[in-house]
Symmetry: C2
Subunit: 355 residues, 2 copies
């Protein structure tokens, strides 16, 4: 973006005109949660404070002057919305995924888009590994086992008793908690972007061998590349879904891919629910045709398929991969930084490059 | 151990005499669980198959001829037992810890001891990291939240509704699930043996800085060393207990150490329950003076302090750190290998070096 010729030597352009209007499609969760006030120097339009229905609110003169939209995961910025808000020049999102923004329409209209940048990558990768260990080593299942008193209830197996010595029963009680070690597992990373690379780095520290699938083979990456995700699954014990959701990735992890992963295979999804054909996955998990799943995202979240709630080989996480106090704070800085940069005609801090 | 002069050229000594008697203090769990038969070439004495009480069983002639004892976690080999079984020359254990064996008495009597060697190190380290991520990112708590229907129950916060836009309430429902990122945490490893080193390697991949406490500073280790565990705690956000239990480490993690770790501090214990003063730890967790705990071991397991069952900042694991199908199989090989080596007068595969 070219520098404003007036800005050199003079006061910054931000201070010389009316504060830009920013439409909030939702109370920005990050600011709310850490009690951070919205930044000065902007006028924020809040549909939930208006008595008007959302459609009428969008049509009001005030809102039609909005120059930016701030949104987050799950709240869509559609072509229709952009057409109705012709002054918008910037869409900001606080989510790692971008599937809620009509990027093609933004491009067509010359609307800039800023995302969450790298703020979340490590958080999400950490949770991916946490879910994987949890499924393989049954951490949540073990925690439930202890909390419901099943462990301490094994009184007849007291140390030194004949039953304890014989111990087969005691051990069989625990057997369902035993599973598989992480070291030596062949792990496939689907989508080797920022998050995927962080996941791969962690997997290596646990002694896993990493290969990946991605739109294109990445230069400078030494992990084996599979252009076909089913072939990747055939050659892996674990799949970690790290890609974004788009037309190409919707239901990319279908029945065939899951069957290729197999009865001992584990799938971890920290991308978006609809990347997996959830109905098929649930069926295969129930039938024992798929070994286990660690899921932070679901097709119709917060709805979670009923069948999953009864399974001990799945770990269910309420889409919290990005949420830590540290990332919330960092993201607030990024939102403010992007707004200030854009309206000072400086480059965005985290532009979304439409690769 | 010197090689048997008769063994060179001739048949192995194992085949030339009556099979050595091995006293099993308990049905060896590893063999049971993977349906592995006990090895040929030995006579195994099984107290649970005898009508005699254990004490009388020990006094029988048959048992007094036992040359080896095979035990596992929690089943003690005491000085008294060794005195009553004068023919014993070898004690084998399948557990990672050794606190159930009177090592001093073994040394005094010239009884060799073989442990689990490195079989478990990676398994245990994996679970330590799993517990840590679980506590920091509330994986098990999130799983409970989803399974009890709390997430999907937030119907009034449907996407696009005014309440959703306002969203403060929605987020506050989830806020307790947010916690702290792993990257940048200062992690203290207590006991930098095989397991501790594997834990440290994994922590580094998550962007943690590692320091450690150990009996002595380790040569060739670059992590900062703290001779005082309380000082280590003062300088750490996370403590991972990886040491063995002995007189020096019993209740080493006392109230002062836990207070030094602090309100945001997290403790992970995959060593032995009694290394931590459990009563004090429980009190500090309940009072919010300690941030969280991931526990695979407890002072009086399988009894778990009642107060912990109600806390969402603790993860409770029923002492499963060593149990994976892979480690069970490897350990059976090690037990058989140690028995065959010892009675062929070859060096033990995993001698316990009394450092």
């Amino acid at each position: 973006m070219a520098a404003d010729p007036e800005s050199s030597g003079g006061p910054p352009p931000l201070r010389r005109r009316a504060p830009p209007c920013v439409l909030l499609l939702r109370h920005p969760p990050h600011f709310t949660l850490i009690d951070r006030p919205l930044p000065d120097g902007f006028r924020f339009l809040k549909p939930w404070e208006s008595p008007l229905p959302f459609d009428d609110f969008l049509a009001s003169d005030d809102v039609r002057s909005a120059e930016a939209i701030l949104t987050s995961q799950g709240v869509p910025v559609t072509a229709d919305m952009l057409r109705r808000l012709p002054a918008v020049r910037l869409v900001l999102t606080t989510s790692a995924g971008l599937n809620h923004i009509d990027l093609a329409e933004c491009r067509r209209r010359g609307v800039a888009v800023a995302g969450a940048g790298e703020v979340y990558s490590e958080e999400v990768a950490d949770l991916a590994i946490g879910l994987l260990i949890d499924v393989l080593r049954k951490v949540s299942a073990g925690d439930r086992y202890v909390r419901r008193g099943s462990w301490s209830g094994e009184g007849e197996f007291a140390l030194g008793s004949k039953l304890y010595m014989k111990c087969k029963l005691y051990l069989l009680c625990l057997w369902w908690l035993f599973h598989s070690q992480l070291g030596g597992k062949r792990a496939g990373v689907v989508g080797l972007g920022r998050i995927g690379l962080e996941v791969a780095k962690r997997l290596e520290a646990f002694g896993c061998t990493v290969s990946y699938n991605s739109r294109k083979k990445k230069p400078y990456v030494l992990y084996p590349f599979y252009s076909d995700v089913r072939e990747l699954a055939t050659n892996c014990d674990v799949l970690v879904i790290c890609c974004g959701l788009n037309e190409q990735t919707h239901h990319m992890i279908n029945r065939e891919v899951l069957l290729a992963l197999g009865k001992e295979g584990v799938i971890v999804n920290i991308g978006r629910g609809s990347i997996i054909d959830e109905k098929e996955m649930v069926q295969l998990l129930v039938q024992g045709e798929l070994g286990g799943a660690g899921l932070d995202v679901f097709e119709n979240e917060p709805k979670v398929p009923e069948e999953l709630l009864a399974l001990d080989n799945v770990v269910l996480s309420p889409h919290t991969a990005v949420f830590t106090t540290e990332s919330l704070s960092e993201l607030c800085n990024l939102v403010v930084g992007n707004l200030e940069a854009f309206f000072s005609d400086k480059p965005l801090l985290s532009p979304v490059l439409d690769e």
